[in-house]
Each structure stands twice: as C-alpha cells, then as structure tokens.
C-alpha cells in the first residue's frame, strides 16, 4: 500500500531519518516502535505528506507521490491522522469531526449523517454539541479518531495516540484501532514507544532506532529474535550474556559464558564469540532443595535472588549466578515458593529459549 524508498530527512544540519526503506501492506496494522527521538513522528509525518523527504520517494498505492501540492493534497485526502496531542478547534465536537468532510465539499445533509456515524463509532454520540476544548484528554483523542475516520480513509496514521492518556482511555483507543482495522479494513500505521502496545496491536512491527529501520517482522520475530542488542533491550529482553561457542553438534551448541555453560540452538560454529538473549518470561525458578530435579530444561543455573520488583500481577526477579539473570514470575508463585532477596534458587532456561547472535563488537 505504501512504499518508502531510500528516504532521508534533514532539518537544518541534523539528519533525523538516515535512509528508510519500508513497505506497508494493505490492510495490515503496522506498528513503528522505537525510543523517543528515534524519528517515528518524522516518518509518520512524511507518510501523511505533511513534510517532504530530503531524498528518496514515498509511493502511495502504486503511485509515486509528487512534489506538486495539488497531487499531494489528493493523496493526503485518502489518509487520516491522529496526533499525539489531540488538537481540537475551538468549536463544537460535531463541527470538529465535520472538518474533513467540509474541506472535501461534501454536502450538508451527508455531513450530518456521517458525523453522527463517526461519533457512534468512537462512542461519543451525545457529545455532538459540546465545546470540543472542554473535553477530557481521552475524549478529545476519540474525537480526533472520529474526525480522522469520518472521511473513510484508506490509511489511518496514529502518532503515539495513547502516550498522554490514562490506561482506561488507552484501552478504549486500542480497541477502536483494532475494530477499525478488522471491520473497516483500514490499513493502520501506528507509532509507539510502548513495545507492549506494539505487541498487542501489530500485524507487523518495524523497529526504528536513531533514524534507521533496524528490524522489520512479526511480533514474534522482534520479541523473540531481536536483530541486535539495542533492539533486544528495547523490546524488553533484560538478560544479555556474552560467551564463546565451545561445541556445536548439528545446531545444538554449548556456550561458555565464563560463569556457566549454556546449551542453546544456533548455527554459529565453535570458537565464535556470541551474545545470548534471554527473555524474563522464559526463566523458571525452583527452590534449591537437595538434588536437581530431572527436567527437560537443559540449563539449570544455581544462584541467589538479589532483587525483586513487583510488576503488576508479576514479579521481576533478578538472580545472580555469577552474572545477572532476570526472570518474570507470577506473584502467586513467588509467594508460594517463599521467594525473597537472598533465597537460593535454581533458574531454568530452555535451550530453545536462548536467542543467540554473533558478538559484533
């Protein structure tokens, strides 16, 4: 649906986007995730044709977008955008929502009908005559959404839409996004710095860091097989260990991290230095109680709990086995096992759960 080819964007002397190549498929929800300042907003603005790239081209539905304002306008009118800070104009909600239709010259009776439908879509039917600037943040963002959708765009762009909202409003917005994509078949491009939101909503994720797309893939690809250390850190892999491959038997390798020997699945030959990525959800904890149990989990590490941090219904436990290893355990389990700082435990990691990448340092 949208092709971004060799796009760079410079503002003055600083280069914000440093060569972006990306393809957005029709009908998918594509999420751009990355830290603040990585260029997400800039890229989305370029896609919405609010700015022009310094070099490169943007292709919309097969046609290259031109520099001519008239052509750009007609392409822009096939998209809708929701900004991070909901900007509503000093007039009624209904009028706000109607803007896009007004600009396109839709006749009045049609406008009224469609505005009501859009407000219904976002659940703000009774808000038509309210002054838009008096609404709460969440309500305003829903108005923005209605406003963007009322024109039945082919593509909906959202730039960190829930960044400033409370969890309840955020959830409402997320549900609406999903609904819009599933029921109305609108292609959605969404940017966020919340990787969990990305995980929840996306068909595909593009990771953008420091102005470059560093990885594109499904949720699984990104979260379980991040292409680099920074991506891994960003998507929440907290345990990163380095080591050397000592043996490799048809893909089943042993890796010496200095403090322990790990078994993992990788094609990297022996002698190579590697990085091992372990998600906290993949780490199990058992109380050391005599002999090690017989289990299929290949890696059993002996250590002590050095940190416990509550995380909603979970607990994040850091274990020191010589190096730090982070595990995510339910609170219930933690309580039942009587886990506390100083408890001697055995951390278990399946060989298949260790993501190995060459150490390119």
């Amino acid at each position: 649906m949208i092709g971004i080819e060799a796009v760079t964007k410079k503002f003055g002397d600083s280069e914000i986007l440093k060569k972006i190549d990306l393809d957005i498929q029709k009908g998918e929800i594509f999420t751009l995730i990355g830290p603040s300042g990585s260029g997400k907003t800039t890229l989305i603005r370029l896609i919405n044709l609010l700015d022009t790239p310094t070099t490169g081209k943007i292709i919309f539905d097969g046609t290259e977008t031109s520099a001519q304002e008239k052509a750009r306008l007609s392409v822009r009118r096939r998209m809708g955008m929701v900004f991070q800070k909901p900007a509503v104009l000093n007039t009624t909600v209904a009028e706000n929502v109607a803007f896009g239709l007004k600009f396109r010259g839709v006749e009045k009776s049609q406008i009224e009908k469609r505005v009501q439908a859009a407000l219904g879509l976002v659940g703000l039917n009774d808000f038509s005559l309210r002054r838009a600037i008096t609404l709460s943040g969440g309500e305003m963002q829903r108005v923005s959404l209605a406003r963007a959708m009322v024109t039945e765009p082919d593509v909906l762009l959202l730039d960190e839409p829930t960044a400033n909202l409370d969890p309840v409003s955020s959830e409402i917005i997320e549900d609406l996004i999903l609904h819009i994509n599933r029921e109305l078949h609108t292609t959605v491009i969404l940017s966020t710095h919340d990787m969990l939101q990305g995980q929840r909503l996306a068909d595909r994720i593009g990771v953008i860091m420091d102005g470059r797309i560093v990885q594109v893939g499904t949720t699984n690809d990104i979260f379980y097989h991040p292409a680099g250390k920074d991506i891994a850190r960003f998507v929440g892999i907290e345990t990163i260990l380095n080591g050397i491959v000592t043996t490799n038997d048809g893909g089943h390798a042993t890796i010496d991290s200095g403090n322990a020997i790990f078994e993992a699945i990788t094609t990297i030959p022996p002698g190579q230095r590697v990085m091992m990525y372990i998600r906290p959800e993949e780490v199990t904890i058992a109380i050391r109680d005599g002999d090690l149990p017989k289990t299929s989990v290949r890696n059993q590490l002996t250590g002590t709990i050095i940190k416990m941090v509550p995380f909603g219904p979970f607990v994040r436990i850091t274990i020191d086995f010589g190096s730090p290893l982070t595990a995510l355990v339910t609170r219930r389990s933690a309580d039942e096992l009587g886990l506390a700082v100083g408890t001697a435990v055995i951390a278990g990691v399946k060989a298949t759960a260790i993501h190995v990448l060459p150490d390119t340092r």
Binding site: M81, F99, T151
Partner: protein, 231 residues
C-alpha cells in the same frame, strides 16, 4: 479643571438636544473610520494569512517592517496620501482630496500595518498542532488559512478594534486630506483640534467625551457580533 466638568455637561447637553452639528460631525467620523476599518480588515486578514503561512525569503524582515510602521506619524501618512491625490499628483483625477472618501483612503492606509501586524501575530498564536491537524484533514491552502483565521478570530478582532481606535482618534490624516471643512469633512478630531486652537476647551472636551462614547459603542457592538456569530 473646571473645563472637564463643563465639557462633560456640554457633552450631555449636545447629545440630549440632538445638536445637529454634533450629529453630523459624529456620524461623519463614524462613517469614515468604520469604512476605513472595514476596507483595511478585508484586505489585511487574508493577506496576513498568506504572509503567515507562506515561507519566503525576507519574511522576518517584512514582518519587522510592518511592526515598525505601527509608529508612523499620522501627519506623514496624511502628507504621503496628499501627494498621491493632490490635483498635481498621480491620482489627482479622482478628485479625492477634501472629501470623506479621500479620508477613508487615508485612514485605511494608516491602520493597514497595525491590523496586518496583529493578524499575523494572532495567527502565530495558533499552535502548530492545529495547523498540522487542518492540513492533515485535507484542507487546501486557502481552506486552511480560512480555518486558522476563524480559530484566531478573537485575537484578530482585537486587532481590528485597535485599528478602528487609531482611525477614529487620529488628526493628522483627517486634517491633511479632509481640510477640516465645515459641513463637508469636519470630523470629531479635527473639530477638537480647531476648538483647542480657538481656546474653546470645554467644547473640545465635550467632543472628546462624545468620541470616546461612540468608540465604546462600536467596541461593544463588534464584540457582540463576534460572540453571536459563533460557529
């Protein structure tokens, strides 16, 4: 000091008795300044939109120039317009000198920079977010300018009111272009100048009070209309 009180009493007297000279002079003042403000506003509001939204070399310099012209002495504007419409000037054939229409032209020229500058300033006060939103919603350049102007309407109205105030209170242009001719181009301000020149201080105060009263009515009226005409 007593002249102020005498002036006030004289003002009330003239209003209550519907003094025909006063009515004629006051009506003429209003007619001229309102027309001048209307003409200037109609031109400067879209022009201000264009200047604000378009990027071009020397834009900042232009805006600084406009703001500098806030301080142009009214007599100088009067003199320049006089050279233009004098019989020996390029527009002499229009016969605008010593007519209310010439004064409208002169005052419109005078207040043009003020309203233009304040329109641009009002538009700058509208956050970039709003502008992005409007563009993103598919507005053409002119649709966008129109909406932003609407969004900034109250600030713009302030500018227009200020322009009107400067127009109705100035003497330099009215004197130069109008000539203070009795029954033809004598307005409140030139009548006040004549009065003070002739030592008629109470009369001058009375006219001044009436001028302020009229201005107040106009300001109220403008704000009223703005509030009523809410989208």
């Amino acid at each position: 000091m007593s002249e102020i009180i005498e002036g006030f009493l004289q003002a009330v007297n003239m209003i209550v008795t519907l003094n025909p000279d006063l009515l004629q002079i006051a009506a003429l003042s209003l007619y001229i300044s309102l027309c001048a403000t209307l003409i200037a506003a109609v031109i400067t509001i879209p022009l201000g939109g264009l200047i604000h939204f378009r990027e071009f070399r020397g834009k900042q310099a232009l805006i600084t120039l406009i703001e500098t012209l806030y301080s142009v002495p009214t007599v100088i504007v009067g003199l320049l317009v006089y050279f233009l419409i004098s019989k020996s000037g390029p527009l002499g054939f229009l016969g605008l000198l010593y007519s209310p229409e010439g004064m409208i032209l002169g005052q419109a020229v005078l207040i043009f920079p003020i309203i233009l500058g304040l329109v641009i300033s009002a538009l700058s006060g509208i956050s970039l977010n709003i502008r992005d939103t409007i563009v993103s919603l598919g507005a053409t350049e002119f649709q966008g300018i129109f909406e932003i102007i609407r969004e900034a309407r109250f600030a713009i109205l302030s500018g227009v009111i200020l322009g009107f105030g400067r127009a109705i209170s100035e003497v330099g242009v009215a004197m130069m272009i109008g000539g203070n001719i009795r029954g033809e181009t004598r307005v409140l301000t030139t009548a006040i100048a004549l009065g003070t020149g002739m030592g008629e201080f109470s009369l001058a105060m009375a006219l001044g009070i009436i001028l302020l009263a009229i201005s107040m009515m106009v300001v109220f009226l403008m704000k009223f209309i703005a509030r009523r005409y809410q989208p």
